[in-house]
C-alpha cells in the first residue's frame, strides 16, 4: 500500500479554514448556548418543568411558535407572489419595489413595530377602517412577524424562478396542460425546495423576533405576550433561573423544528433524484 502523499487536495488551506470556522463558531454560537444550557442545568428537572408548564409561559410559546408558523405560511404565499411579479414582469418602478423588499432587513425592528402600531391601532390610518382589532392583539404580533419575514422568502425564491426555463412551461402547454396544471405540476415542484428554505428562514426569524412585536402586540400576559418578551420580563425581575429555563426550551424547540425542515429538504431532494 502506498503512503498517501500529503496535500492531495487541489484547493489548499482546509486545515486552517476549518480551524478558524470552528473557533469562530465556538466563540460566537456554541459557547453562549453551552453557558445557557449549563445555567439551566442548575435547575432540577421538576423545577424546570414547573417553570415551563406555567400557563403564562405556555401561552407565550403558543403565540411565538404558532404565530410564527402562520406568519411563515402567509409569507410563503405572499413572498412567492412578490418574487413571481418581480421576475416575470417588467413594469415601471420594478427596481424600486425590488429595493423595498430588503427594507425589513435593514430597518430597526422597533421602528417597524411603532410604524405598524400607528397604522393598525384602532384609530390609525388602516385600523380605523377594519371591523376587528389588529394592534394590541395576537393578530398584531403576526402582522409584525409577516413584515420581518417576507424578504427571506422573496430572496430565496427569486433566483430559482429566474433560472426556470420558459421552455418547461412551453413544453407543458404543448402537452395539453392548463396554466393551473403547469403551475402545480411543473413550476411549484421545481421551486419547492427554495420556497421551503425561505419559509423556514422566515419562521426562524419570526420565532426570535422581539423588537417589532412588543410594540404592536400589546403584551397582555397569556394572550398577546411572546416568549422572548417573557424572558426579558423575568430578567428584569432578577429571575435569572426562570429566564434560562424558558430560553432552553426555546432553543430546543427551534433546533428541533429547523432540523425537521432540513430533513424534509433532504427527503425532497432525494425524491427528485438529485442525490445521484
Amino acid at each position: 500500500m502506498m503512503a498517501r502523499p500529503p496535500n492531495l487536495r487541489v484547493i489548499p488551506g482546509f486545515d486552517t479554514t476549518l480551524g478558524l470556522t470552528l473557533a469562530l463558531l465556538s466563540l460566537v454560537v456554541l459557547l453562549p448556548l453551552a453557558a445557557l444550557v449549563l445555567k439551566a442545568a442548575g435547575l432540577g428537572v421538576a423545577q424546570w418543568l414547573a417553570i415551563v408548564t406555567d400557563p403564562r409561559v405556555l401561552a407565550s410559546f403558543r403565540l411565538s411558535f404558532g404565530g410564527a408558523a402562520i406568519a411563515a405560511g402567509l409569507n410563503g404565499i405572499f413572498g412567492l407572489l412578490v418574487a413571481w411579479v418581480l421576475v416575470r414582469y417588467r413594469f415601471p418602478g420594478r427596481k424600486l419595489v425590488d429595493a423595498f423588499i430588503d427594507l425589513p432587513f435593514a430597518l430597526p425592528t422597533a421602528v417597524a413595530g411603532i410604524a405598524l402600531t400607528a397604522l393598525y391601532a384602532p384609530n390609525g390610518w388602516v385600523g380605523q377602517f377594519l371591523p376587528f382589532k389588529v394592534a394590541f392583539t395576537p393578530l398584531g404580533a403576526m402582522l409584525a412577524m409577516v413584515f420581518i419575514g417576507i424578504p427571506f422568502v422573496v430572496r430565496t425564491v427569486e433566483p430559482v424562478l429566474q433560472d426556470l426555463e420558459s421552455e418547461l412551461e412551453e413544453a407543458a402547454a404543448c402537452l395539453g396542460a392548463s396554466r393551473a396544471q403547469t403551475f402545480a405540476r411543473v413550476i411549484l415542484p421545481v421551486i419547492a425546495p427554495a420556497l421551503l428554505t425561505g419559509i423556514s428562514l422566515a419562521f426562524a426569524r419570526a420565532v426570535g423576533e422581539y423588537g417589532s412585536v412588543i410594540f404592536i402586540a400589546g403584551n397582555m400576559p397569556g394572550v398577546s405576550e411572546i416568549a422572548p418578551l417573557l424572558i426579558v420580563t423575568k430578567l428584569e425581575q432578577f429571575d435569572y433561573v426562570g429566564a434560562t429555563a424558558i430560553a432552553t426550551l426555546m432553543l430546543g424547540l427551534s433546533f428541533a423544528l429547523l432540523l425537521a425542515i432540513n430533513l424534509l429538504q433532504k427527503w425532497n431532494r432525494q425524491r427528485m433524484g438529485a442525490a445521484s
Partner: protein
C-alpha cells in the same frame, strides 16, 4: 394538411419571417434548413402556438390555428435542449400529457401505464422508466422528449434542432432511427436544422430559408441538383464563386463555358463545387498553392488567373497518379457549372 400563408413576424426592427407561404403534406418529414437568424425556429414556434405571427395565417387540417390555444393544437414539440421535467422520472415525463387530460378523454392509471410502457419500448428505453433525466445521456434524454411528445398522439410533430446537442456518432444513429419511427408511425413531422447534410439525409422535403424568406422548396435531390438561388447553392455545400459573362445563352466562366439559358446578356455569377473540378494533364489554368489530405480525398487550394482562389477535391488515386506537387501548374476541367444572374 398544414397551410401556411403569407406569414410575417417582426422582433422590433428585425424581420424574423417575411411573407412566408408553405404547404406541408401529411405523412411527410420536412426539414426547415437555414443559417441562424433565417426564421426557421420562429416558424416552428408559430406552428406550435408558442409565438404569434404579426400577419398571415396558419391552417391546421382546415382549422384556423389562430383560434386554437397551444394546448388544443395537438402538436408535439421536441425542444432543442429537451425541456424535460427534472423532478419527474422518465415514466412520469412521458405520462405528463396523459395525466393532464380532463373530462371523458382522461385515461385511467392502468391505461396510462400501458401507453407509457409502449412508448418507452418504442424509443428503446424500456428499463429506464424509473430514472430521472439527469441520470440519462443526451441521446436518451432526446428519446424521452420524443416519447413524451408522442404520448398525446400529435397531429404534427415539431423538432427544434433535434440532434444539435449530441455528438457525431449518436447523431447519426438517432437520425436513422427517427426516420424509421416517422415512417412506422405515419407521422407528419417538421424539423429545424442548420446542417445541410442532416436535412438532405433525413427529409422528404427540404425548405431552405434565408433572412425570413423561403428560398426554395423541394426534394433533397432536387434542391441539391437544381438550386434556385446562389444562396441555396452555397448553403448546400462548398462552392467556388466565379465571375461570369453571359452572351446569347452561353456563359464564359474563367477558362470554361457553360449553358446559361434564361439569363440576360451581361455580367453574371457562376458556382462550381470543389469535387466537380477535375485535374487534367497538360493544361495551364491554375497553380497549386497548398494540398491537404482529407481521408479518402485531397483538397487542392488553387490560384486561378487574376488571383482568383478556388478549391478542388480529388480522390487519392488520381492525386497519386498525377503526381501533383505544391507549386505545380495544372489544367482544370469543370464537370458542372451553375450560372445565376448577377445579384
Amino acid at each position: 394538411m398544414i397551410d401556411i400563408s403569407n406569414l410575417s413576424k417582426r422582433f422590433g426592427a428585425f424581420a424574423a419571417l417575411d411573407d412566408v407561404s408553405l404547404r406541408i403534406t401529411p405523412g411527410k418529414l420536412v426539414a426547415l434548413l437555414g443559417p441562424s437568424g433565417s426564421g426557421k425556429t420562429t416558424l416552428l414556434r408559430i406552428l406550435a402556438g408558442l409565438d404569434h405571427a404579426d400577419g398571415g395565417a396558419v391552417q391546421l387540417n382546415g382549422l384556423d390555428a389562430g383560434t386554437l390555444k397551444t394546448r388544443d393544437r395537438r402538436v408535439g414539440f421536441v425542444f432543442q435542449h429537451y425541456a424535460l421535467f427534472r423532478h419527474m422520472s422518465v415514466a412520469d415525463n412521458v405520462a405528463f400529457g396523459l395525466k393532464v387530460k380532463k373530462g371523458p378523454d382522461k385515461p385511467n392509471k392502468a391505461q396510462i401505464a400501458e401507453t407509457v410502457g409502449q412508448l418507452l419500448d418504442l424509443v428503446q428505453l424500456t428499463g429506464l422508466a424509473g430514472r430521472y433525466p439527469q441520470q440519462l445521456s443526451g441521446g436518451q434524454r432526446q428519446r424521452v422528449a420524443l416519447a413524451r411528445a408522442l404520448a398525446v398522439e400529435p397531429r404534427l410533430l415539431l423538432l427544434d434542432e433535434p440532434f444539435g446537442a449530441l455528438d457525431a456518432q449518436v447523431r447519426k444513429d438517432l437520425r436513422r432511427w427517427l426516420r424509421r419511427l416517422h415512417d412506422d408511425m405515419g407521422l407528419t413531422s417538421v424539423f429545424v436544422t442548420h446542417d445541410q447534410e442532416e436535412a438532405l439525409e433525413l427529409a422528404d422535403e427540404v425548405v431552405v430559408m434565408n433572412k425570413g424568406r423561403v428560398e426554395q422548396v423541394g426534394s433533397p435531390a432536387d434542391i441539391y441538383d437544381n438550386p434556385a438561388t446562389p444562396f441555396v447553392f452555397q448553403f448546400l455545400g462548398n462552392a467556388n464563386r466565379l465571375d461570369a459573362v453571359v452572351r446569347g445563352g452561353r456563359a464564359l466562366v474563367g477558362p470554361w463555358t457553360a449553358d446559361a439559358p434564361d439569363i440576360a446578356d451581361g455580367p453574371a455569377v457562376a458556382f462550381v463545387r470543389p469535387h466537380d473540378l477535375d485535374v487534367v494533364p497538360g493544361g495551364d489554368h491554375a497553380i497549386i498553392r497548398h494540398q491537404v489530405v482529407l481521408g479518402p480525398t485531397v483538397r487542392l487550394d488553387l490560384v486561378l488567373d487574376d488571383d482568383i482562389t478556388a478549391e478542388a477535391i480529388i480522390d487519392r488515386e488520381s492525386h497519386a497518379r498525377l503526381n501533383l506537387r505544391t507549386g505545380d501548374r495544372i489544367g482544370l476541367q469543370a464537370r458542372r457549372i451553375a450560372v445565376f444572374a448577377a445579384p
